[in-house]
Symmetry: C2
């Protein structure tokens, strides 16, 4: 999974905030997640994705999108549809997806010393 | 840190998506983060918070807020201001904050079997 910050453009753009709790064991999850992230980043209108998951199995992936159309196309992508199905059947015990329009952002980066 | 899902109300509401990379070592971070989360959850208009951080130090906290006013009051909270300062000076090498208005959400929870 991407562990770096996404270089998103100035707002407005969209965020899809995906919180999830994994079931126990990998069961092919790491491979699927990597493939889906790579595929998402290839979609027109995908502006990046940031992910974190702790040892307790609770994780958050925030992905960034240009507009409603690009999110809609990704949601309906055939390979992604299969991953969604596997997510519900195997990988996740619980997830919540929130779609939100980014209005502003700000950041901090420590200067190299 | 909260490792559970927040019971957010039907949209619209706001999400503050906070992505960060920690500096090495704890340096009092765990204690500060716990205190800030508890304080945030006590704020009027705070609807919850979800957090995940991986072993590589990259983490995401998504917090949920009723409206612009509640986010503004929290941002200006005196104890939170101090935590922000310590965050820049000690705890974080890089962070990005995105403020977004949630338009829709959906969820999945596996039935107990």
């Amino acid at each position: 999974m991407t562990k770096a910050f996404s270089k998103t453009p100035p707002p407005p753009y969209y965020i899809v905030a995906f919180s999830s709790r994994k079931t126990e064991g990998d069961n092919g999850y790491a491979e699927m997640a990597k493939a889906m992230e790579e595929l998402a980043l290839q979609q027109p209108g995908c502006l990046g994705a940031e992910s974190a998951r702790g040892d307790d199995g609770f994780g958050i992936t925030n992905s960034f999108w240009k507009d409603e159309e690009s999110m809609k196309v990704w949601k309906a992508n055939v390979d992604h549809k299969l991953a969604q199905k596997l997510g519900r059947e195997i990988f996740y015990s619980h997830y919540v997806i929130r779609v939100a329009k980014v209005e502003r952002d700000y950041s901090f980066e420590k200067a190299d010393i």
